[in-house]
């Protein structure tokens, strides 16, 4: 029982992180119809910015974990928010009219630049670094399942962040502007919406979310690494596309689905076929993604767009 509970909990945690990354992909695709593939590495940069902030605050002799956590989150969000806006301004917008393949490749390469920069220029960046555990670590026993407080906090805050972004997009003026630009950039411009500002803000928002996902990832595993972004980026991309691009619910669904597949793979595969290492979980998850794409070529919740012929 406790084992199943643990699996479910792991799956939820992973799903939350994936969903947060996937929502970013969806936001960007919504406003500009582009895929920003450096998203995973933005996440990594956010986590590293947070780590730097935590070290900095510690140097100032402030040891209260809550203040450090605040510093971590603030610096991660600010750095990646600015970074995301800068990427949109100097790379995505100039390439807006280029073939989609070029944008995809350019942002993939940008991800490489960010990854390599951290590896080369962050002190001792090529080794994985311990991430401070800033959350209380007490645990509550429910039956045989031990719920750790930090994990519960992470899970709840993840939910809160996704709900917050959802609220922002559906209920606020900025959200309305984002949706207007997503619907039709030209018309939105005619209606007096500052197109570029909305695009930049959307990229800042999505990147900030990625940074939070990165911090969550760091707090959960207590470790970060310069190349954590590549796989997380690919998974977030898969999740966004599995759900259907340009749809927030799709992204969330895709994120949890991918996590479920991984957990299922690592739990069920060794039970069904003896002698099979649980490392096949990624093989299993990606194989299912390919099969799902063959079945539903535009994602589980298809884009609401008609093709102009």
């Amino acid at each position: 029982m406790s084992e199943i509970g643990q699996y479910v909990f792991n799956g939820l945690m992973l799903g939350m992180i994936y969903a947060m990354v996937a929502v970013g992909f969806t936001l960007f695709f919504g406003v500009l119809d582009v895929i920003k593939f450096s998203h995973g590495d933005t996440l990594m940069v956010g986590a590293f910015a947070g780590l730097t902030a935590s070290t900095g605050v510690l140097m100032l002799d402030i040891s209260s974990p809550w203040i450090r956590l605040l510093a971590v989150v603030l610096s991660a969000v600010c750095v990646t928010g600015l970074l995301g806006a800068a990427i949109a301004k100097f790379l995505i917008l100039p390439l807006h009219k280029a073939p989609p393949l070029n944008t995809l490749l350019a942002t993939l390469m940008l991800g490489t630049v960010m990854r390599e920069s951290v590896r080369l220029f962050y002190p001792d960046g090529s080794n994985s670094k311990p991430f401070p555990s800033l959350l209380p670590t007490g645990s509550v026993d429910i039956g045989t399942l031990a719920l750790r407080a930090d994990n519960v906090i992470l899970l709840i805050s993840g939910l809160a962040i996704i709900a917050g972004v959802h609220f922002l997009i559906t209920r606020t003026r900025l959200g309305m502007a984002i949706r207007a630009v997503a619907q039709d950039g030209e018309t939105a411009r005619l209606m007096g919406i500052n197109f570029e500002a909305v695009v930049l803000l959307t990229f800042a928002l999505g990147s900030g979310m990625a940074a939070l996902a990165g911090v969550m990832n760091g707090l959960y595993y207590n470790e970060i690494n310069f190349n954590v972004g590549l796989l997380l980026g690919v998974i977030g991309f898969s999740a966004a596309i599995l759900g259907g691009l340009g749809n927030i619910y799709g992204a969330i669904l895709g994120g949890f689905l991918f996590a479920a597949l991984q957990v299922l793979g690592s739990a069920l595969l060794p039970a069904l076929i003896p002698n099979i290492p649980s490392a096949y979980k990624d093989v299993f998850a990606f194989a299912v993604v390919i099969i799902l794409m063959a079945w539903k070529p535009t994602g589980l919740i298809a884009e609401k767009s008609s093709e102009r012929v």
Binding site: A287, I291, G299
Partner: protein, 387 residues
């Protein structure tokens, strides 16, 4: 009449001069040891390209090559052979030349997929790897001749690739990109956890054996010791040239035309009665075949393969060569491959920063020259008549 004759003669002359110039430059470049000399040579190349553009020399060479395509190819091969002869005993240079040739072959496959029918393939390295692994397994466990192994490796890559056909046909754009990205990662993870195929430690690949001649041993000819890489360069040259001729022939034929229509406008293609799925399948399978064959020879040359040789970043390397060269232009692949593969190797002082610089370079080229270094030209079927 005499005017036309003069033109063909001058085309011959231009091609000969251009080849000699490029060969001499490549010789200097490959020979240069000091970082200063290499830097100077790179600057020289940039200046030459800019001046050549201004004075119209570049266009002149392009025209000459277009009017005498067969001759231009012969000169290209001769130039390369001259380089091989000049570096007959330096392993490293020959290995780089070989890598450029093999990567160009794999990228010709990508060009068929991306440039002709517009099917995205971000798993190039996976198919390259399937070729290498198949050769490793076949050569260790069967007694098949190695030449057959190369062919089988290509076919196996194509067959495994056909697993992707259904999702690739049904999806488009980013969705199709995801399918291939997922496949590339799946392949690498699979190889990594599979103990039969050596796991993360990788596999030994036996060298090429042809008519009793072991490729992995140097040989002596006329009393001169040749590096064993010479054999591999010659083999790769044959394969690369074969792929090139095939791609060019396809491009000039109605097959290439149909593929181009499928890429530019599927709806129009369908209304003209073209079978979209058929062309996509043909191009996808053929491209993977090329990658598999190139991977097979590459595996034999390096003698040892591991999952880390076939990661997502290696697929990106292939894609960036294909895009940098100018999508759909097989000629452009070779300079692009030289820039992406050789430049970082020669610039030792940037060794540590090479991935960073190469990524930045690709971004710069995409921003400022989105068509690639040598953009693909529109076909001119009747150009001879005008000349």
């Amino acid at each position: 009449m005499s005017d036309i004759k003069l033109k063909t003669n001058s085309a011959k002359l231009v091609l000969a001069l251009a080849t000699i110039l490029v060969t001499a430059y490549m010789w200097l470049f490959l020979h240069a040891e000091s970082q200063l000399a290499i830097g100077a040579l790179i600057v020289l190349a940039l200046v030459l390209v800019i001046v050549g553009k201004k004075l119209g020399t570049t266009q002149r060479i392009e025209q000459a090559a277009a009017s005498r395509p067969g001759l231009a190819r012969i000169w290209m091969v001769l130039g390369l052979l001259a380089l091989v002869a000049a570096f007959y005993d330096s392993h490293f240079v020959l290995m780089m030349i070989c890598a450029v040739l093999l990567y160009s072959t794999a990228c010709m496959g990508l060009t068929l997929q991306f440039g002709f029918v517009g099917v995205a393939n971000f798993a190039g390295a996976a198919f390259f790897g399937i070729g290498s692994y198949t050769t490793a397994v076949l050569a260790t466990h069967t007694g098949l001749p190695q030449l057959a192994n190369i062919a089988i490796s290509g076919v196996v890559a194509a067959i495994i690739g056909s697993v992707l056909i259904l999702p690739v046909l049904r999806t488009r754009g980013h969705y199709a990109a995801l399918v291939t990205i997922a496949f590339g990662i799946l392949f690498k993870t699979f190889i990594e956890v599979n103990d039969v195929l050596g796991g993360p430690q990788g596999l030994q690949v036996p060298g090429m054996q042809l008519f009793g001649h072991a490729f992995n041993e140097g040989f002596t000819l006329f009393g001169i010791e040749f590096s064993f890489y010479v054999s591999y360069v010659l083999l790769s040259l044959v394969i690369c040239a074969g792929a090139f001729v095939l791609v060019k022939a396809l491009e000039r034929s109605w097959v290439g035309l149909s593929m181009d229509v499928v890429r530019t406008d599927e709806t129009a293609a369908a209304t003209f009665g073209l079978h979209i799925a058929r062309w996509k399948v043909i191009a996808f399978t053929m491209g993977n075949l090329f990658a598999g064959i190139a991977g097979s020879v590459y595996g034999m040359m390096v003698g040892f393969i591991a999952p880390n040789n076939f990661t997502f970043s290696d697929s990106l390397l292939l894609v960036s060569i294909a895009i940098l060269g100018g999508l759909g232009n097989p000629v452009g692949l070779i300079p692009a491959a030289i820039i992406v593969l050789m430049l970082p190797e020669k610039l030792q002082f940037i060794q540590e920063y090479r991935v960073l610089l190469y990524a930045a370079l690709v971004i710069a080229i995409l921003l400022f020259r989105p068509e690639g270094l040598l953009p693909r030209k529109t076909r001119l079927f009747f150009s001879r008549k005008d000349a």
